[in-house]
Symmetry: C2
Subunit: 364 residues, 2 copies
C-alpha cells in the first residue's frame, strides 16, 4: 500500500430519512441496515483498508458519535477520529482534515468518501480508488466520482460532463466536468439519461492535499484562514479545544457548492460498481434480497400473508403476522413503529416533524 494514500470517511450525518430505524442518537451509518453483520461504517472501513493504510483512514463525525465510532472501529486510534462540535456541512470538516493530514504527510493523496453508501462490486470499486488516487497524483486536479446511471433516478444529484474533448479525456474514463446539478424531476432525469452526458454524483472525491488546500485558499479563504491558525494544536491534546472554538465561526457550506462548482480543474471519473447511496427506503429495498412475494424481510420471526413488495424491518425478538399489505414499509425500532406506503416515503420527513412538535426529541 502507498503510504501517501489517505482517506477521509464522513460519518457525521443524522440519516433522518430512515427514521425510526435511524435515530439521531444512532444514525444510519452506525446500523447494520442490510443485516449483513457489519454496519455501513464498518463496511466502508473494511473496504477501504484493503487499499489504504489503516493508519491513514480518518473518520469525521459529530462529537456525539465518538463512542459509536470507537466501538465500531476498534482498529483506529483516537487521533484518527475528527470530532465536530456541530454540523457545518462538508467543507469545514474537509478543511479540518486537510490541516491535520498536512502535519502528518504533505504529499498525501486523499479520497473523501461517505460512510453510509453501499457498494456491491467491491473489487471494481477498489480498482477505481487506485485509478483515482493515481490520477490526482499525476494531475493538479479535483476529481469527483460519477456513477453510470441505469435509471432516471430523481433522488440523486447529477454531474454533466463537458462534451468537448480535452487532453486528459483521451483517457476516456476521466472527463472534464461542465456542471453539477441538483436532484432533477422525472422529466429532466429522463433527458439526462438520454443525453449520455450525465452521471450520478456519488459524493466521493479525490485530490492531492496540495490541490485541495490551494482550492480552499482560492474559493473558501475564510474557512481556510480559521483552520490554518491551528497548526500548533492538530494531533495534540489541545486539538479538541481549538476545534470547539473554530467551528462556530465556520459558515455552513458543502464542498460541492463551495469548491467543486467553482473550480476550473474539476474532472469526473465515470464508473459503475453497484453503488447506492441508500438515501431512501426505496433504494434500500432495491438493494436487498426479496422473498418469493418480492418482500424484503429483516427479522427472524415475521410471517407474511397476501403481502407483496414490502420492506419489513423488525427486531429479531418481535414476532409479526403481516397480512394484506402491498408496497408498504413496515419498520419497528426500539419503541417506534412506522407503517407507510413505499410510494409515500417522502412524506415521512413531515410525519417525523409532527412527532417532534408533539413529543419533543425523545423519539427522534
Amino acid at each position: 500500500m502507498n503510504k501517501n494514500h489517505f482517506c477521509i470517511i464522513m460519518a457525521g450525518g443524522i440519516g433522518s430519512r430512515f427514521w425510526p430505524l435511524s435515530r439521531s442518537r444512532k444514525p444510519k451509518q452506525f446500523l447494520d441496515i442490510l443485516g449483513t453483520g457489519r454496519t455501513l461504517l464498518q463496511q466502508t472501513f473494511d473496504r477501504l483498508r484493503k487499499v489504504i493504510p489503516v493508519g491513514n483512514i480518518l473518520i469525521v463525525t459529530n462529537e456525539d458519535y465518538d463512542d459509536l465510532v470507537r466501538k465500531q472501529l476498534p482498529e483506529i486510534s483516537s487521533n484518527q477520529v475528527l470530532l465536530e462540535p456541530m454540523r457545518r456541512n462538508t467543507a469545514p470538516c474537509i478543511a479540518y482534515a486537510n490541516y491535520k493530514i498536512h502535519l502528518i504527510n504533505p504529499e498525501a493523496k486523499i479520497l473523501v468518501a461517505p460512510s453510509d453508501h453501499i457498494i456491491l462490486k467491491e473489487q471494481d470499486f477498489l480498482d477505481v480508488v487506485i485509478k483515482g488516487l493515481d490520477f490526482v497524483t499525476a494531475n493538479d486536479c479535483l476529481l469527483t466520482l460519477g456513477i453510470q446511471p441505469n435509471r432516471p433516478e430523481t433522488g440523486y444529484g447529477y454531474i454533466q460532463i463537458n462534451g468537448d474533448k480535452t487532453r486528459i479525456e483521451l483517457n476516456k474514463s476521466f472527463r472534464q466536468v461542465k456542471t453539477f446539478t441538483e436532484k432533477p424531476d422525472l422529466n429532466m432525469a429522463q433527458v439526462f439519461i438520454q443525453s449520455g452526458d450525465f452521471f450520478w454524483n456519488s459524493g466521493m472525491f479525490f485530490w492531492s492535499l496540495s490541490t485541495i488546500m490551494k482550492a480552499f485558499n482560492n474559493y473558501l479563504p475564510d474557512i481556510d484562514q480559521l483552520f490554518s491558525e491551528g497548526a500548533a494544536f492538530y494531533n495534540t491534546d489541545r486539538e479538541g479545544e481549538f476545534i470547539s472554538k473554530v467551528y462556530p465561526n465556520c459558515k455552513n457550506i458543502s464542498i460541492d457548492y463551495g469548491i467543486m462548482e467553482k473550480a476550473e480543474n474539476v474532472f469526473v471519473l465515470c464508473s459503475d460498481f453497484g453503488w447506492s447511496d441508500l438515501g431512501t427506503w426505496g433504494s434500500l429495498y432495491d438493494s436487498m434480497c426479496k422473498d418469493e412475494d418480492n418482500n424484503s424481510v429483516t427479522g427472524s420471526n415475521v410471517f407474511t400473508y397476501n403481502s407483496q413488495n414490502c420492506l419489513i424491518n423488525l427486531p429479531d425478538n418481535k414476532l409479526a403476522v403481516i397480512q394484506g399489505l402491498d408496497d408498504f414499509i413496515v419498520v419497528e425500532s426500539d419503541n417506534i413503529l412506522l407503517i407507510c406506503r413505499k410510494q409515500d416515503e417522502q412524506k415521512i420527513k413531515s410525519y417525523v416533524n409532527d412527532v417532534r412538535l408533539d413529543k419533543g426529541e425523545e423519539f427522534i
Copy 2:
C-alpha cells in the same frame, strides 16, 4: 339486595380470536380491551354487584388464572373463585357451582353470565337481571336471555321463540323457546331477522338452584353424579383436591347442548341493552369510539395519516406513525405485532396456528 340472588361469572375462556392482544396467559376477559381503565371481568363484576350481594358472586375460571382473578377482584374471597383444572365447557362448571351454592343457600336464584361481553345500557341490563331472577323465583323454568337483533349478524347463535301463545307469554317479555340455532350464514340470518321470531343468544341464563339441579339430574345425570359426591368437600380446604379428581372424568359439554336444547321448560327473556359479545375484532371496532377518520385508536402515541376505518391498539409506550391503511387491524402486544385487513380477520386463527407450528407455544 336479595340474599337469595346469586351470580356465576364464567371467566375461563382463552379468547384466542383477539391474538395477540389476548394471549393464553392473559385472555380477553382479563384485559382492559376498550381502554376504560377496567378489564372486561372487572366491568362485569362492577355491574353485577349493583344488584347481587358481592358475597354471592362466584367466578369460575381455569386454575391458571387464579392469580389474575384475585388481583383484579380483590373484593371477593378465595371461596368465591372456582378453579377448573382443565377446560370442560360450560355444563361441568355450572354443576360444580350448583353444589357449592347448595351448601350455602338452597333457595338460591342464579344468573349465569360470561365475563367478557360488553353492555352499554347498564341500567336496562340491571332491570332485566332483576326481572329474570324474579321470573325464575316464581316459575320452575330455565330462562335464557335473548337480545333483540339489529342486523343479520353471522357471528352469533340465535334463539327461536315459539310463535304459539302460552300462559306465561301473556307477559310478552318472556317467550317459550322453540329452538337454539348455530351461527347462521348471511342468507339464513336475514331470514331470521325478517321473521321476527329470532333473538341473539347472549349466553346468559337464569334459574333457581332447584330447577337447574333437577335439570342436571334429568339430562346430564353422569355429571350430576360426579359432583354430588363432593358434599363433604365443597367450601373446605379439600375442595380443590376433590375437583382435581372429578374434572378429568367429566365429559366436555356445553349447558346449551346438554340441557337448554333438551329441557321442556325453557323460556327466553327478550331485551335490548346495548350488548356485544366482543367475539371479533370487527365487533370490538364497532363498540369503540372512532376519530374523524373512523379509526379506533388505543395508545397514546399514535399518529395516523391517510388511514381510515382502522382498529389500532398499541401500548402507550409505543410511538407509531401509520400511513395509508384502510380497514386494517394493527395491534401490538408484548413482543407481537399483527397487521391484518379487517375483512380477513377470520384468517387470523390459521395464522396463529402457523405461528404455533413454527415457534411453539411461546407466542400463543
